[in-house]
Each structure stands twice: as C-alpha cells, then as structure tokens.
Symmetry: C2
Subunit: 150 residues, 2 copies
DNA sequence: TTAGATGCAAACGGTTTGCAGGGAA
DNA sequence: TTCCCTGCAAACCGTTTGCATCTAA
C-alpha cells in the first residue's frame, strides 16, 4: 500500500516533467524519462559520474552529455536541486516539493545530514527588505565534526 | 593617520602568518609574503587566476602552483576564507577577524553583497545540539535579483 | 521530412602533480 | 649542505562542445 503511494507519487513527478517538456517544446525522449526514473529510484545525493556508472550497471546506454543535458532540464523545472558543497564538482538531489531543508556536512567523511530551521526564512526576508532584492534561492551549509561519544 | 592604522593592522597580519609558518616549520620565503601582501592590498573577492594576472601585472615572478600552495597555508591559518558560490571554481577573500558575514549574489552579474544577521548563530547552536556535532565553519549564501527601481 | 536529441570523443578550464633547479635554514 | 619551495609544463578531472547519426513529432 505504501509502495503504491510512492508509485503514484512518481507518476505525478513524470507528469510534471511531461508538462514541462511540452510547454517548452522539448522532445519526450525515452532517455529523459529513464534518467528521471533512475534519479527518483535512489535516495540521497549523487553526482553525475555516480549516476552515469549506476545507469551503465543497469545496462542503460547513456552518455554523460545526455546526463548533463537532462539534469539541466530537471533543474529548470525544479524536480532536481543542485549543490556545490565546497568541492569543485556538483552534487544533486531530487527535490522534495514540500520538505525544504539545509545541510550539515561531516568534515571527515562528507556524510550529509539534512535539517530545517524556520529562522532562515526570517533572515531571507530581512535580506530582501534590506537590499531591495528578490531571493530566488539560497544555500545554507554547516560543516563540522561529530562529538566524541563518551 | 587612518592609513597608518591600516599599515599597523597589516603588520599584525604579517606577524600572524610568520608565527604560523614558524610553528609548522614552513619556510619564510619572499614569495609567500608577497602573495600575502597582494591579497591584503585589494578589496573584495578574488579567484586564483585574477590574483595571478594581477601579480604578473605588478611584475612579480610567480607561478600558479605557488599561489595554490600559499593560499592553502593562508586558509590553514585562517587569514583567508574560501568560497564556492555555486560555480566550479573557488573564490577567496581575506578574513576580517572581527567581521563575520554572509553573502548575497546577484544572479545576473555575480556581484556580491555582504551582510550579517545574528540569527544564524542561533541556528548554528541548534544544529550543534540537535546532532551532537561541533560546527567548524558554515556557508550561507542567498542568490537573487534586484527589484525594478519602481 | 526535419529540427532537436543522442553518443562519442575531443576540447576546455580550474586545479594538481612531477620534476629540475634554486634558496632558506 | 640539505631538502623544502619555486616555476614551468604536463597531467588530471569534471564539464562543455562539435559532429555524425538517430528519432520524436
């Protein structure tokens, strides 16, 4: 039953993507839907190379160029979010429509914890008012170490 | 008088760097001090290539490799801060010991505004307590557009 | 039928590395 | 004198681009 719910949810995602492609007169190629499916089939963050390897392992014929192109579309229709956690390569994650969140990164391992604190919205408004700007997006990331168990 | 004050301040910076080099048994080469001086002589953010060009223009013989090496030392002794504003190249700025701040970036131009909102410290404590971690550093950046003048 | 999309491989650009020569300690 | 540091150039690696081929519309 829960699984059914998740599938329904993905159907919804597909629909959003389809509408986006149609609206912008982009072709609905099988590759694009396969990549969308692959991304939404796994949890957590990923980079392009990892996604590429994973799809190769699943015996899909896909090129890095197409991955980069398709990610661009998915970013544009906001189904995927891009992060640059202080490295010089990009990491991505599927957007969780409702669940806005920020990140804590362990210095040693790169492990990611997600959290949400509503006070960030207050800071955001403050910035918008102070500088007379519209904030389109933002990035808040804490870096640090775990405390000794003890 | 104010200028004098700034010079004194830079003397202090030099001292910090010297102490750091001595403590870690790194050599006090002229290149390292020249780079330090060049960085503290200019305002705002910079990337390695810009710094390289600027030093070439000032007729310094310096290699990119040394710039990268020295920046690494300056980061380590916290005289310089590193940013990755959503691009795949790093930007840096001299640390302002006392003036903690975050950034707003204009989507179109990349122009940077600095600001400070103390509420970020509350979020930081919250994260530390919630996940039982120590935050060593963080990054908060808003991206957006200026509002039409009216 | 045809313009947009794909796969492949080469190009690109910021960063890193290897190495011979130079200079701080 | 030692061996860390420097400049130079090549290597590296994530990303972008060019192009022949393919295919959604």
């Amino acid at each position: 039953m829960i699984k059914k719910g998740l599938e329904d949810n993905f159907e919804n995602i597909r629909k959003i993507f389809t509408e986006y492609l149609e609206k912008h007169a982009h072709r609905k190629t099988p590759e694009r839907y396969t990549i969308l499916k692959e991304i939404f089939a796994t949890e957590g963050h990923f980079d392009i190379e990892t996604l590429y390897i994973r799809m190769k392992n699943h015996k899909y014929r896909v090129s890095r160029a197409t991955l980069y192109n398709t990610i661009e579309l998915l970013l544009d229709c906001e189904l995927v979010t891009k992060h640059q956690f202080g490295t010089n390569y990009a990491q991505f994650e599927k957007s969780m429509m409702f669940k806005q969140h920020d990140h804590f990164i362990f210095n040693e391992t790169g492990e990611v914890i997600e959290f949400y604190d509503p006070r960030i919205e207050e800071i955001r408004s403050q910035v918008e008012n102070l500088f007379n700007v519209d904030v389109t997006h933002y990035s808040l990331t804490f870096y640090g170490n775990g405390r000794p168990k003890k």
